[in-house]
Symmetry: C2
């Protein structure tokens, strides 16, 4: 049967029909109706982080990585020096784009199975005074680790350094309070925990630093200061917005608010996460991370030790049973990932676990138990 | 009544319901089904320019401007020298993004009411040997001028210069034959004459220069060479694709092919254009451009000379009658623009002219005749 499969991926993810139905209309990007959608969306996004007094939010076309690159380009001066706290693949990507655009960049490496260390950051900042900005990935989707945003922000504030946070996979689900956590830029995207469709990102910029960002970007398309100034003046995007993606996100945010906002979303994802790890444990699977450092966003599981296991075949079998899994992103260890996010609840997760059980049977694998 | 208005704008534009309905499904960006959509779309796009033997096509997230910036960043070496043939607002934007990314850039200015001159280009290239690449906007949407792509390409080939073409608003409607016209990069986007929704661009890159593009981009997100290599290897996009925009474009391209491809689309847009200028002439309106240099994509009209005319009120009145017009983009002269593109035919254009007539009546304006 050609039914839609449930996506257990960290975005794009499964969205509601109501969100998708919002795309059944064409909008003039210059029109007041569309400007009103943009304005309402920006107000709602600011409210999620309680940033109304301290921050402005600037949407940007493209995937989340475009917004991360834009945030670094806009916030860090040409002669700035960025320190990337690295405990995974998305940290490495942030470092790479920083280096490519010509900003000086230093990487502080950490174990990918554990959060980054605010104490180590403090030491590093004490010994290298040339560092101007710190980049933190809030939830490292590579393994699924939750990093200590508040503690890192405190160190940065104490040391007088700017902080750029990639909150791509945490925004909307994990609490972020701009009144209590000082950041210069925080980046997220439409197709993650807000459960919109992919195609745009958005960046919260601290008002106190905004004026100083003028002219810093070496990219016209990614100049968030220019986008901000133009949007404030005209209500419009500088360049053609992905209109259907924008209205879908606006519709998704209405449902987010109706559900009860971030606390309700976190509660649902936490139930999804618990249902997942409990069910997978019954099948013998073991998560890669210690539960104490695991965000309820995406879970990395060790691959089964059975020699008949091969990810592509396992993926295809689970897919046949209606669920889309996600490959692992660790370099050393064979893993796969299962997302807990999207317009799904514990019922779908329970079915997903059953699909994994059937997939193992299809491959003749008795247990998900890893080799280690 | 809350009915959809017809967009007479140069993208986003009115799309078919069939195109929009393709967005009612969520796709895993890692899944084979989605990779097949991307692959089929890329094959279809290459066929539009007959580029199967000579070019590769690389899709990119974001608006068309992102793809223009990516094309310059990818194709032009860091020490390259770009000459922008400037007869309008989009030329100036291309020059600006080239300068911002740190490439040397020279602007060759032309009248915005006329095409750029291949002879003047030839003279310029003869006197300045440091120029490595030329940027041409095929159809300058600022005024609506059609520029001489083939003649410019011949000059570039004769002089051994690279050519980057922004074919944003012409691609799919005006003929472009990669077998007869040599270009290094040609840029277009989803939400224009292919009648998809906005949110992605795509760039045709000449295979002969592709390998030499490695490492030239100073932007990770906009590195088309990297995107190309990754896509050839995996079938996937490097970073989260705008899945719904991609499937909508794929569906729009199927309809494009069913309609009869570029010749049929040009024929329909030409009928739209003729219906528009004939009808507007009956109301006293005069186009800004001489018909001989006018592309049948978007028409700039002189504003009416009547002192009661004011664009915002005129726009609002036409909108009330169901049609979305577009503001002018000329700096010196008061104009407005009307698009001929999108999933509309002469019937809709005839109604649009009638809506303009009613809008004039609403404002108490007797004729569209300009002051000049």
């Amino acid at each position: 049967m050609d039914r839609d499969r449930i996506l257990l991926t960290p975005g794009p993810l499964t969205t509601t029909l109501r969100t998708k139905l919002a795309m059944l209309r064409d909008w003039g990007s210059w029109d007041a109706d569309f400007n009103a959608v943009t304005a309402r969306l920006r107000r709602s996004l600011l409210a999620v982080v309680h940033g109304e007094d301290t921050h402005a939010v600037v949407p940007l076309q493209g995937s989340g990585t475009f917004s991360v690159e834009a945030a670094v380009a806009t916030v860090v001066p040409r002669d700035g020096h960025v320190l990337v706290l690295d405990n995974g693949a998305y940290c490495k990507r942030a470092a790479k784009l920083t280096q490519m655009m010509g900003r000086r960049c230093t990487v502080l490496p950490f174990d990918e199975a554990a959060p980054v260390s605010p104490a180590a950051l403090d030491d590093k900042l004490a010994t290298d005074g040339s560092i101007t900005h710190v980049v933190l990935i809030h939830c490292e989707t590579g393994a699924g680790v939750l990093n200590p945003l508040q503690a890192v922000a405190q160190v940065c504030e104490k040391r007088g350094k700017g902080l750029i946070v990639d909150a791509m996979s945490s925004f909307g689900a994990l609490p972020i309070d701009a009144r209590a956590v000082r950041f210069d830029a925080l980046v997220a995207a439409s197709g993650k925990c807000l459960e919109g469709v992919p195609g745009m990102g958005f960046v919260f910029l601290r008002k106190a630093i905004l004026d100083g960002c003028a002219g810093q970007s070496q990219s016209l398309a990614m100049d968030l200061h220019d986008q901000y100034v133009y949007m404030e003046k005209t209500g419009q995007w500088r360049f053609t917005p992905p209109t259907h993606v924008v209205v879908a996100l606006a519709e998704a945010v209405v449902q987010f608010e109706e559900e009860g906002g971030q606390p309700a979303r976190l509660a649902r994802y936490t139930r999804n996460y618990q249902t997942l790890v409990d069910g997978m444990a019954r099948l013998g699977f073991i998560p890669f991370l210690d539960p104490s450092v695991q965000a309820p966003i995406i879970v990395t599981f060790h691959a089964p030790g059975d020699p008949r296991y091969e990810f592509k075949a396992f993926y295809a079998a689970a897919r046949q049973h209606g669920f889309i899994l996600y490959p692992g992103k660790l370099t050393e260890i064979d893993t796969f990932r299962v997302g807990c996010i999207g317009a799904i609840g514990p019922g779908e997760i329970e079915q997903a676990v059953h699909a994994v059980e059937l997939a193992l049977q299809d491959l003749g694998i008795a247990s998900g138990e890893p080799a280690i």
